[in-house]
């Protein structure tokens, strides 16, 4: 049985619809990444999961019981779920009192509270700040206090709303490690909302992509990454090469697609006449100077129109009737002697082409 099951949630705030027919489930111990652009409804969904709002329609099950509409059960659920808000606020008291708060509201005795709080402060590295007024801390430290405060009760579920937006890389790294550690050690399930695909990929077992209040695709990070079901998802997860085309023929799922007069082969269940989008990830494209002798079914020659280095990688833009971006190592770019205006061959496998309907 899923820990949390969400069925057909709709949420309206005034005339604005923020969630449309959202359904998904969260398993025990799972890290679920909720990605999507700002305003997609991630925060609303988290608030609903934390019972801070009631949905306009739809149901939320926790451990198999319907929670929606029962204030008593909602308080019970809140005690098993912790949420770190996007811009966390701390109480105008000491760091210790802030972190102790959730334990106090649960009626733990003084000794347990003191021990547990000290332990978690050590874990997040805030022992030195224990007596400081929490309002005087920096952004990163505030975020740590908020996280410690959320983790101190060892919740079954941790909800994180953009936890690392505006944080320095060190704090980000520490917070991600902490989340992973609690997930591994205590089997704590995590829902992390982020607009950063990379963070989702790093942390999540599964990812749900939200667009305009809808949960448009759910799956393993690699699936979302390689086979987005939707053009918007494709763009959001960073598919740089999205080509428009029309299916010419289909033989046992090997389709020929006409892209601006060029023939591209792909594996898909599409039929002649279908208008489609083709997604090709830059790292799946191979570059060579001469006609390739590979098994790749798609091979085109074109002219280098752009070249940019980023770290150990080189991003090459080519015009081969349509624009393609390829990602190769910096070393191979040098070996090939690539420069703008130079002719090059690109090739990619039919299986590297992901086809989306229009």
């Amino acid at each position: 049985m899923s820990l949390i099951q969400v069925v057909d949630l709709n949420q309206r705030h005034g005339s604005k619809t923020t969630l449309k027919w959202v359904s998904f489930s969260l398993e025990k111990g799972e890290v679920f990444g909720l990605i999507g652009p700002t305003g997609a409804g991630k925060t609303t969904l988290l608030r609903l999961l934390d019972q801070l709002e009631n949905p306009t329609s739809g149901k939320i099950f926790f451990d198999g019981r319907v929670v929606t509409g029962s204030p008593r059960l909602q308080t019970q659920v809140r005690r098993k779920v912790s949420m770190v808000l996007q811009k966390p606020v701390v109480f105008n008291t000491s760091v210790i009192d802030n972190v102790a708060y959730p334990l106090k509201v649960r009626g733990h005795d003084r000794k347990t509270v003191a021990e547990t709080v000290n332990e978690i402060l050590k874990t997040v590295g805030l022992e030195e700040y224990a007596k400081r007024n929490a309002r005087t801390l920096s952004g990163g430290e505030t975020q740590k206090v908020a996280l410690a405060r959320a983790l101190v009760t060892r919740p079954q579920v941790l909800l994180l709303d953009e936890p690392t937006a505006n944080l320095d890389p060190l704090s980000l790294d520490m917070i991600e490690k902490l989340v992973v550690q609690f997930n591994r050690e205590y089997g704590m399930a995590v829902v992390i909302a982020t607009h950063e695909m990379a963070q989702g990929q790093r942390l999540a077992d599964r990812i749900g992509v939200m667009m305009d209040g809808e949960l448009v695709q759910t799956g393993k990070p690699s699936e979302i990454f390689s086979t987005p079901t939707d053009l918007r998802v494709a763009r959001f997860v960073g598919v740089e090469n999205i080509l428009q085309g029309k299916v010419n023929s289909n033989r046992e799922s090997l389709v020929h697609i006409d892209v601006q007069g060029r023939d591209v082969e792909a594996i898909a269940n599409r039929f002649p006449g279908d208008e489609v989008h083709l997604c090709i990830r830059p790292e799946d494209i191979t570059l060579s100077l001469r006609g390739a002798s590979t098994s790749a079914r798609n091979s085109f020659s074109g002219q280098v129109t752009g070249l940019a280095l980023s770290g150990a990688l080189a991003r090459v833009q080519l015009d081969c009737g349509f624009t393609l971006v390829a990602l190769i190592t910096k070393q191979s770019a040098e070996e090939l002697g690539l420069q703008i205006g130079k002719q090059a061959h690109v090739s990619f496998k039919a299986t590297a082409v992901h086809v989306i309907g229009q």
Binding site: L52, V89, N92, T93, T153
Partner: protein, 229 residues
Amino acid sequence: MTELWDAFVEALRLIVSLDDEVVSIAWRSLRVSAASTALAALFCIPLGGLISFRSFHGKRLLINIIQTFYSVPTVCVGLFVFLMLSRAGPLGGLGLLFTPTAMVLGQALLITPIMLGLTISALSGVDKTIRDTTLSLGASERQAIWAIIKEARFAVGAAIVLGFGRAISEVGVAWMVGGNIKGFTRLLTTAIALDAQKGELVLALALGVILIAIALIVSLGVNLVQQRH
């Protein structure tokens, strides 16, 4: 203008010489107003928390009504409490009229609107995220309200001080339901009114100076306590 100066000198003399009569009246004023303030605070702070926490129909209207009662004349409250506590009134059986307890009740009623209203506006000044944070951390409604009150403790403290100020400086209620009985229900304000009526203007003014001094000390004391935390 010499009268003003005389009043100051007289006030100082009364304070320095610890005039029995004045000390006992001042002490009684302080106790009665402190009790009425405590009673009102006990009622207003939780209720204000509830009103500000919950959303319901007519909330705006309710707050407007409460604010309207900020300016209720003290004599009207005094009359109302008098009619309640008079032996011919509904609560006459308690025998509270013309006692300090009656003044405590009357003053508490008098300052309830201002304390309630100011508590509500103090709490509405607290970041709304605090509410979500407390709930999300597992607080019940009552615990969340209490946390919000704690966040607004300075503003709530100011509301209490203001209530105390209105209680200790009012004369209508104390006069109507206390009766200004010497040694029993005579407060600084009713003593001032009586002395003024008797033409003892300098003494009246001196008592006024003492009253202001008490109010000042109380408000400074509260500020000090708050700043230490």
